[in-house]
């Protein structure tokens, strides 16, 4: 049975492609591709009826963002999604610093559902949408 | 610019001037015979005490360890902050002041030259970057060489000449000034969590003993004609009963040929003069140590005097800091440096009512007062280990006034009072002696020929204190004396008036003094080192040396070595 949405835990972090992308330039395709994807566990993807590169909408208290779902290539990570650092991840990351200065980049609850008809925003579009510039 | 300091009571022990009323003439940055009065700026020093600028032979003010000390102690800074002014930068104290504040505070006490005694060679650039940001003072720094693999290997091989060339190379590329040895053999052992416990213990994996390291480096020091002796932090430092190790250490260096000059400087000797079997039976070993030093001329030392306050201990002696951690349970930093050395940091509060701390306080003063020749004794707190350098005036008062020290003594833990030798010691240092233990003796031990005196040709570094020796008996009016030495009436460095009445008038950078060693086989050695480099370190040969970029005001001292 395909479910409509899942409540998971959001992790953000580094990947090598994101690293190479940021050094090559933030407007490169590599950076865009590597920061607009989202690793998911195979079982979770199956629950939502997702295949690699299908669009999903991830929503937290902070907002929503559209990303591409990618099956996590190694080992199991049920219940989690992993988005590489970047403006897209930060659109939904929790800003709560719990009074020590550090926002909550890992471990925020997130709701994930398929978003087949919604586009992944470009950097310019994202900045325009978020900050009006 | 000419400057004339008129009619002060001048104390210049190197030139045997003891409180005579005289003028000091300065042209640009040097002391000269005379300057024309009409075209000179005049400082009226009548009724004031005139000293050479202060010299500190051992004070941790810059580098990786010091800065990590700053980092781990925000609570140390919050209670002691310094506002920015039109002239000076902001900063913080207390026990580990930020760089600018360090410079200002030394300068306010009449100091003009300080020695940073503990530099990990791999991180030498860091030390120099910080020294550049310490204004108001001339500076030098000692690289840690006692547990460096290339030293251990070559001494074990018996090839002192090779060892000397390696040491020369290292001194030069780290822009260092003297050979610093800390718990020889112990730091290498600490790499695997062990330590050495006597000067004849074997260092694991290297087939060498601390005795061999110390004697070897003392000989190397001589072969290189270095201006200072080896600068030694002894084995077993901070352990009850260690005075025996210290005696053995001094004895093992007796036979090093020296033309009657010292061959070793034992630093913060207080921490190495403990008698007793454990902390319960802890007592002073100062009597035995002082007796030995009075009968031998190859040793100088600095006090490492305890002051009762909250401070931060930091030393390359990693295993000792671990012992302190076990004792205190306080936050503990350990930093081992590949191929070279280690390091540790523990905050520490010395308390009058703690019998061990109180006895330690007594030991430092006993050592200084029982050593007859003041040229062998230098006043330090091993800043910040036994207390911050800002406590110097307090210590001077204890040295110069029995009344002052008994006032503190009365408030000590009773057990410590009973064990202390201080009540039986009547000696009180004169202003002349004070000048020796705070500048002239230190300059002489460092062979800084233009420092520590006011003769013609000396650097124009002068400290003037608001103290009339004809009117004030410092042994009696020790509080007046202490006040005067806390805030200099004038501090003049390189001919510039930097401080007046304890206020900073202008900010001025000092020089970094380093040894430019001339050896005959330099090139050969650097080829050898190049080969070893990737094996021993994780940085490239080209990136290791401290280039000129890292020295803002360079002042090399050229030395011709015998190798």
């Amino acid at each position: 049975m395909v479910q409509e949405k899942l409540n998971l835990i959001l992790l953000t972090g580094r990947t090598i492609d994101q690293g190479v992308g940021k050094e090559s330039g933030k407007s490169t395709k590599l950076y865009f591709d590597s920061t607009t994807m989202c690793y998911m566990d195979e079982t979770d993807m199956n629950k939502l009826g997702l295949r690699n590169n299908d669009h999903i909408m991830a929503t937290t208290e902070e907002g929503s963002v559209v990303l591409r779902a990618i099956k996590h290539p190694r080992g199991a990570m049920p219940g989690m999604i992993y988005i590489p650092y970047g403006p897209w991840a930060n659109a939904i990351c929790s800003s709560k610093t719990t009074s020590i200065g550090m926002p909550s980049f890992k471990g925020t609850p997130v709701e994930v559902k398929p978003a087949p008809n919604q586009p992944v925003l470009t950097l310019e579009e994202l900045l325009k949408k978020e900050f009006g510039r | 610019m000419n400057l004339l300091i008129k009619n002060g009571f001048v104390y210049d022990p190197i030139n045997e001037i003891n409180g005579e009323i005289m003028d000091i003439a300065i042209r640009n940055d040097k002391i000269v015979e005379s300057v024309p009065e009409r075209t000179s700026k005049i400082i009226d020093a009548s009724g004031l005490t005139v000293f050479p600028g202060g010299v500190d032979i051992h004070t941790h003010i810059a580098g990786g360890e010091v800065n990590t000390g700053r980092l781990v102690r925000p609570e140390d800074h919050e209670k002691d902050f310094v506002r920015k002014t039109a002239i000076t930068r902001s900063g913080v104290g207390y026990s580990i002041p930020s760089t600018f504040t360090t410079g200002y505070r030394y300068s306010r006490m009449g100091y003009t030259t300080v020695m940073n005694p503990s530099m990990a060679c791999l991180e030498a650039k860091h030390t120099h970057e910080e020294l550049n940001d310490i204004p108001m003072l001339d500076k030098a720094t000692y690289p840690l060489l006692g547990d460096w693999w290339l030293v251990l290997e070559n001494i074990a091989k018996g090839d002192l000449e090779a060892c000397a060339r390696y040491v020369a190379w290292m001194l030069e590329i780290t822009k260092g000034y003297a050979i610093k040895i800390v718990n020889p053999g112990g730091l290498e052992s600490w790499g695997f969590g062990r330590n050495v416990h006597s000067i004849d213990d074997q260092v694991p994996n290297f087939g060498i003993t601390p005795r061999e390291i110390m004697c070897g480096l003392a000989k190397v020091n001589k072969m290189l004609n270095l201006p200072h002796t080896i600068h030694l932090h002894t084995n077993n430092l901070g352990i009850p009963g260690n005075y025996a190790t210290t005696l053995e250490t001094m004895k093992c260096l007796e036979s090093i040929p020296s033309d009657g000059k010292p061959v070793v400087h034992i630093t913060h000797l207080q921490f190495s003069s403990f008698a007793g079997e454990d902390w319960g039976s802890f007592r002073s070993g100062a009597g035995e140590i002082a007796k030995y030093i009075n009968n031998h001329d190859h040793v100088t030392f600095d006090m490492g005097q305890i002051v009762f306050t909250d401070t931060t201990t930091m030393t390359a002696d990693g295993p000792f800091e671990y012992t302190l951690y076990q004792l205190s349970g306080h936050k503990w930093v350990n930093t081992d440096i590949e191929t070279e050395t280690s390091g540790g940091i523990i905050p520490f509060h010395y308390k009058r009512k703690n019998p061990v701390n109180a006895i330690q306080w007594s030991i430092g003063l006993e050592l200084a007062l029982m050593t007859k020749n003041p040229w062998k004794v230098f006043m330090t707190t091993d800043h910040p280990n036994a207390g911050p350098f800002t406590a110097y005036p307090k210590i001077l008062a204890w040295l110069a006034s029995k009344k002052a020290r008994m006032a503190t003594f009365k408030r000590l833990h009773k057990k410590a009072q009973k064990k202390s030798l201080l009540p039986s010691i009547d000696r009180e240092l004169s202003l002349y002696d004070i000048a020796i233990v705070t500048r002239s003796g230190q300059a002489k031990a460092l062979d800084l020929k233009e420092k520590g005196h006011l003769g013609v040709g000396a650097d124009a570094d002068v400290a003037i204190f608001n103290l009339n020796p004809e009117e004030v008996d410092i042994a009696n009016k020790y509080k007046t004396f202490r006040r005067a030495f806390s805030n200099a009436a004038y501090t003049i460095k390189a001919g510039k008036v930097l401080v007046k009445d304890g206020e900073i008038l202008q900010q001025s950078d000092g020089k970094t003094i380093w040894l430019d060693l001339q050896t005959s086989k330099e090139i050969e050695i650097s080829e050898e080192i190049k080969r070893k480099f990737r094996e021993y370190w994780t940085v490239e040969y080209e990136n290791y040396p401290v280039s000129d970029h890292y020295i803002k005001h360079s002042s090399p001292l050229t030395i011709k070595a015998d190798v």
Binding site: G101 | K84, V333, T538, V539
Partner: protein, 486 residues
């Protein structure tokens, strides 16, 4: 065509200084020894994303301007501001950072670096409990137990294993390259078998399903001599793939796992079957391996600092190391990200006493993370101007924090166009430190290394250091005029 050896790579905290570059026609033509990020960075000096001219926002659009005008405008913004933030610093040299502290002091601002969203919590823990650590060479020579916890060097510090840890040859410890290669071969062999099974050449054997945590039994290798590599993470990262042992911890449960390990190190019995998804029996074996090693090290990363509990995770991790030192030699080290974030902490500390989050608004340095940290200042909407240098907070801060940053006048100094320069009001292009400008950076273990200038910057560009100096000079001019007028 010329070759330059021993170049320091200005990308990550590894600060590899063995890079060999070939320069042709004033451009980096070849990069040897570096990782993929290193290559990308060295080639980036010549790409289309460079900022070539200063920009000032007019009527909502960034339009080209001159340095003089942009610097003047920046100085005006800063001199006028009551509570500006000066943020970034981790990808520039110590020389620029030193000027930065002076500028922050002059304008009475909040000075903060990227550690705040990275290893800030680690610094807080070090201030609580200290840290037993060492330089990386010490690990190469001595360590026989390597643990990467909540970090993924394969992705973030690609040469860490090869230069400093598992795959290096030390004086007392050998490299584990060979066993790694065997492992890779074996894995490739298994894959082959599986594909043969799939196409029906071999008879299918029931294979283990994807290992769940409780299946993940510590292998016998933990008892062998020689180097051992362990990875602890919430997901199987690339680094975990290479490890002798991968321990999968449930997200957010690191704190209790480490506390349980502390108890075991102290020979206490645990009355539960499993902790954080890991059977106590396995944990016991792991702890035994830790106790019986000669020299162990834990490297930790964002997996500990950014997950719930944040600095408390590091507190217990460091405390575990303190406990282990009663039994053997153990060290711990944060995997610092930006190539000079350690330098930023270091410079800030020696000049002001505090490593990050330094507030100069009262005329002296004040430090109260949670209050003076830049994310909190932004979330409370207190700042009235911003200067961002060598960093991209518009990409790296949570959206709410960026919103306020963008609302107030924003000065950006960076060699490249990035999200922050896109939303800035004054944008000042700069030379790339370590490629077009020499300087100093501090490796993750506090070892300072020189950065080289290997090519000339585009004509007319200024360095971070020079831009800051000019802004500082201009600010002082404006302030002294104000004083005169008063």
């Amino acid at each position: 065509m010329s070759k330059i050896d021993a170049v320091t790579c200005p990308v990550c905290g590894c600060l590899c200084d063995d890079i060999e570059l070939t320069i042709a026609d004033g451009v980096v033509a070849q990069v040897k020894n570096g990782c993929a990020m290193c290559e990308a960075k060295f080639f980036s000096h010549n790409n289309d994303h460079r900022l070539k001219t200063p920009l000032i926002r007019k009527d909502g659009k960034l339009v080209p301007s001159t340095y003089d005008k942009a610097i003047r405008k920046s100085a005006e913004i800063l001199a006028k501001a009551n509570y500006p933030i000066l943020y970034g610093w981790s990808s520039t040299d110590c020389e620029a950072q030193r000027v930065g502290v002076e500028l922050a002091e002059e304008v009475g601002g909040v000075l903060d670096n990227t550690a705040v969203v990275c290893h800030g919590p680690s610094i807080l823990s070090v201030q609580e409990v200290g840290i037993p650590t060492c330089t990386l060479g010490q690990i190469r020579h001595r360590a026989d137990l390597l643990i990467y916890w909540g970090c993924n060097p394969w992705s973030a510090h690609p040469r860490h294993l090869e230069r400093y840890t598992a795959f290096t040859e030390g004086r007392f410890k050998g490299s584990e390259w060979k066993s790694y290669i065997n492992k890779v071969k074996a894995a490739a062999g298994r894959k082959k078998l599986r594909s043969l099974e799939r196409i029906g050449v071999l008879k299918h054997k029931p294979e283990q399903v994807a290992p769940t945590v409780s299946d993940n039994k510590p292998p016998a290798i933990l008892n062998k001599k020689g180097r051992k590599l362990i990875v602890v993470d919430v997901r199987k990262s690339m680094t975990a793939e290479m490890a002798d042992y991968f321990l999968q911890v449930k997200p957010g449960k690191d704190y209790e796992l480490i506390q349980a390990m502390r108890a075991l190190v102290r020979d206490q019995e645990l009355d539960v079957e499993e902790v954080a998804g890991v059977p106590v029996e396995y944990l016991q074996q792991l702890v035994d391996a830790m106790i019986s090693c000669q020299f162990g090290i834990i490297f930790f990363g964002m997996g500990l600092t950014q997950s719930p509990s944040k600095f408390r995770n590091i507190d217990v991790a460091i405390s575990l190391i303190r406990d282990l030192n009663m039994r053997t030699k153990f060290a711990i080290m944060p995997m610092r990200g930006h190539f000079n974030v350690t330098g930023a902490n270091t410079v800030f500390t020696w000049q002001s006493g505090y490593p990050y989050a330094v507030d100069f608004s009262l005329g002296y340095p004040r430090y109260n993370p949670g209050e003076t940290t830049v994310v909190d200042v932004l979330l409370r909407q207190e700042s009235d101007a911003g200067l961002v240098i060598a960093s991209d907070p518009a990409s790296n801060f949570p959206r709410k924090a960026v919103e306020h940053l963008v609302k107030k006048p924003l000065i950006v100094i960076d060699p490249h166009m990035n999200a922050t320069s896109l939303v800035g009001d004054v944008v000042l292009p700069s030379e790339i430190v370590g490629i077009e400008k020499e300087g100093t950076a501090y490796r993750m273990d506090h070892v300072p290394l020189p950065l080289k200038k290997v090519v000339d910057p585009p004509k007319g560009l200024l360095s971070d250091e020079e831009i800051l100096r000019r802004i500082l000079k201009e600010v002082r001019k404006i302030k002294s005029k104000k004083l005169e007028a008063a």
